[in-house]
Amino acid sequence: MSPRSPFSALRWLIALLVLGGMLFLLVERAPEQSIPEPVEVPTEALVVTDTASEVFGEPLPALQSLEELDLDTPPARRGLDLQHWQTSQGTPVYYMHADELPMLDVQILFAAGASRDGELPGLAGFTNAMLNEGTGNLDAGDIAAGFERLGAQFSNSAHRDMGLLGLRTLTASDKLEPALSLFAQILAKPSFPEASLQRIREQMLAGLRYARQRPDSQASEALWSTLYPGHPYGIPPDGTQESINAITREDLQRFQQTYYNASNAVIALVGAVDRQRAEQLAQHLADAMPQGDAAPRTPAPEPVSASTQHIDFASNQTHLLIAQQGISRDDPDYAALYLGNQILGGGGFGSRLVHEIREQRGLAYSPRSTFSAMQAPGPFYISIQTRADQAEQALDVANQVLDEFIRSGPTDTELSRAKQQMLGEFPLSTASNGAIVSQLGAIGFYDLPLNYMQLFLDRVQALTSEDIRDAFARQLPADRRVIITVGPPQPEPEQDSSDTESDSAAQTTESEDA
């Protein structure tokens, strides 16, 4: 359910079609779990358990390897010398030197997501897709050929909070310098050529149509519009037919000037360039960007009360979502909710939802729960796809699992297991330059401390079962729970439960906009 522009969705579709032979036929047993959120660098004193069975809290299989495993020592990790400074314009830069491979990853994150669309839904995605369509007297083909003949890879994407530009290049100077120079030109003077404008518009409109054939897109759209009425997160990032047709070249230029500026950017760099060179490169990129102001922080949404809705769709399965507003990325409850969600349904096999829905009952292939922590409180949701006649049963089970978790929190066994899991995941989540640059970008964009990964893991390891139960109970009150189903018409019409419009008293989060 990650936000994306229809443009990229369409490219993704064609990639799937083209590579069907590899993708469609590679039937994975479970959908790829996304890379875990930044977890922390373990400190020596963290792990105090002695034996495997204490860690896992259950009878263990008779495995030699397990008996010999040293669980007293945290797993070894890659040394991470994270550094931070600002360019002369004040653009924050996050950097790590990694010289094992002669390559550099650059990621620039702008507060230029769909939440800034205003009256023109799709404007952020449209602008982002136009950035590499022309600069100075270069057209889209010149730009693409420019990167490709250097072996450099340019990337761009737009989401609800942010617009991203990325570059992966070799660091040999005959590659690095021209690649960065071209990248800087895109930042400096995108030309929004008329021919591209019309083509991208057509592709976005096609993308909107494509979304109509996907039940998951329908469900996602309903989720955001229901949870965020009148809020920037309720804006459909792919736009509407009317808005996409209405967007003009001036709108795009204005959006680019307003949001793709040096004061509204975070630069992350990981690769084989030393600190001095990295400072020069970052300064060069910031110099290329327009000057301007940082975008204001996205406000917290008004609470939304419980409701149920069904969208008719000609499919075999019903897609169901249990959703409500969750938390922002800097919420003090973030660690408790993150860890708790791993146990509830975010951690794949072993989590309660997967156990109850898939393993015990065979109802669905990939049930899961997610906290999408964003600049303003993003959604919490449980998603399940199941044969239509089982939808009600799946919904009941999922609601019971959630209610029980909110009522009682995790068991001690689940808690120690989840903590161990996060210690073990850390080395994996920082194994590649690509993973690190993304983490650095997120730290910068959400204005987290440089040692955030450390702090986060410290917090996680200190959590108690009661901390998690308490956080879930406060953040997920049952009278705000929204149910969305997309699938064949339901046998008995659902009672419209939107009569529970009583004002829910207090703000659920104490965290936001402190």
Binding site: L10, A15, R29, M103, Q153, A206, Q421, P427, S432, S438
Partner: protein, 448 residues
């Protein structure tokens, strides 16, 4: 980050090259019971990937029993002699390891990525289920329902997935590549646990598998571990692995599907050899470069001429997997730009023009230089991921090619002349080898 993933996906022909310069020491040997082992050292981070690849996939399944390999893959997580159903996954996730499995037409593979100190756990678990799988019937009865949900999600409720399944059923005429890996629903419905027990017994033996380990390890310490856990697996009878072969001129096939689509899509597939089946390897490398000239980046011909330029296509691309066990397909797919009243026959015509142009005129030096630059850079980028490295080694070995090909790949591609690219277009992109599918929204009719 979708565009980046897209970019990587659209360069499939480049990925094999990614490891051409094996700077990391790589060790290859075979255990007494026949298990092939490949260990590649990569000491950048203290993590390791362990993968077991079995030479069994959808292509090995007899008619009426499609989906066996995939169902068995699911059941591999449902317990073995010392492990309850789901217990191994539970254990691995407790350690923070990531694991998964995949089934393709040619193979079934299982992997774990974990901290280097935990490698023995992964090896022991994997060795145990290589020969001591329980296959309990009560678990099968639940899991087969999960598989049906998986099929509904991936195929039956996904009109593009459905279209591709139908397309493959036509594009291969003389071998089982036409069968869906996940299985036809009617075959899934009549599958029994006995079928899976027989399938397991027949195919899951060390001599039919490859173990790939990539990461922060040294052979001195890993080899004894491998011997300790996998050495104990009995050799068993090695199954015959057959190469799926296609007719050289099956004849032009055409189909029209009306599906719950919003956008019409075109699929055109040409029956072509793979590196395994080509009588001359250069043909395959030339086909890969042909794909790159057409679609190896946003500056390649199809995006330049058909998406931009004339704006005939909303989206268009090619795909060719040269590293399959048997004969392969060279596929074009596209969505016509309806905003400019382009229909499927017009898009097809435009693609033919691009093909004919290449048949007559070899690509330019400049185009090939761009492709080569991406290839060389791709070598470096792919080393950022130990998973990608392990996948490449495994994908080659499991279809009977040597992992060492990665070291020779750059040279093989650089040896191809522009004229050879035109030559393979003339030989293989011909109507006798074509399967064309027009996939239309329900309400629309195909234009003649």
């Amino acid at each position: 980050m979708l565009p980046l993933r897209y970019l990587l996906l659209l360069l499939p022909l480049l990925t094999p090259l990614a490891h051409a310069e094996s700077r990391q020491p790589t060790h290859s040997y075979t255990l007494d019971n026949g298990l092939k082992v490949i260990i590649r050292e990569d000491h950048r981070a203290p993590v390791v990937v362990s993968q077991v690849w079995y030479k069994v996939g959808g292509v090995d399944e007899p008619p009426g029993q499609t989906g066996l390999s995939h169902a068995l893959e699911h059941m591999m997580f449902k317990g073995s002699e010392h492990l309850e159903p789901g217990q191994a996954s539970h254990l691995l996730s407790s350690l923070g390891a990531s694991e998964n499995a995949m089934t393709s037409r040619d193979y079934t593979a299982y992997y774990q990525m974990l901290s280097r100190d935990q490698l023995p756990v992964a090896l022991e678990l994997e060795a145990e289920r290589m020969h001591l799988l329980t296959l309990p019937e009560d678990e099968f009865i639940k899991e087969i329902e999960v598989i049906k949900e998986e099929r509904r999600m991936r195929v039956d409720d996904n009109p593009n997935g459905l279209a591709y399944e139908r397309f493959l059923a036509q594009a291969y005429t003389a071998n089982p590549y036409r069968q869906p890996v996940i299985g036809w629903m009617h075959d899934i419905e009549r599958m029994s646990i006995e079928d899976l027990r027989a399938w397991y017994k027949q195919h899951y033996v060390p001599g039919n598998a490859v173990l790939v380990i990539v990461g922060d390890v040294y052979p001195e310490t890993v080899k004894p571990l491998v011997e300790r856990y996998f050495g104990a697996v009995p050799a068993g009878a090695k199954p015959v692995v057959r190469t799926p072969l296609e007719l050289s001129a099956p004849g032009e096939r055409s189909m029209t599907l009306h599906l719950d689509l919003q956008l019409p899509t075109l699929l055109m597939g040409f029956n072509v050899p793979s590196l395994n089946t080509a009588s001359e390897a250069w043909e395959v490398h030339a086909l890969r470069l042909l794909g790159a000239v057409l679609d190896g980046g946003y500056s390649a011909r199809l995006p330049s001429h058909l998406e931009r330029g004339q704006a005939i296509a909303t989206s268009v691309g090619t795909g060719y997997d040269a590293f399959t066990r048997g004969d392969s397909l060279f596929v074009f797919s596209g969505i016509p730009n309806e905003a400019r009243n382009i229909d499927l026959p017009q898009l097809e015509e435009a693609i033919w023009q691009e093909i004919d142009e290449l048949k007559q005129n070899p690509p330019s030096e400049d185009e090939l230089a761009r492709v080569q630059a991406q290839v060389v850079a791709g070598l470096v980028y792919a080393q950022d991921s130990i998973m990608a490295q392990a996948n490449r080694i495994g994908e080659l070995e499991v279809v009977g090619l040597s992992w060492e090909l990665v070291d020779e790949d750059t040279a093989a591609l650089q040896a191809i002349t522009p004229e050879q690219i035109s030559e393979v277009a003339r030989r293989y992109l011909v109507r006798d080898r074509l399967t064309r599918s027009y996939n239309l929204p329900l309400a629309e009719e195909a234009q003649p």
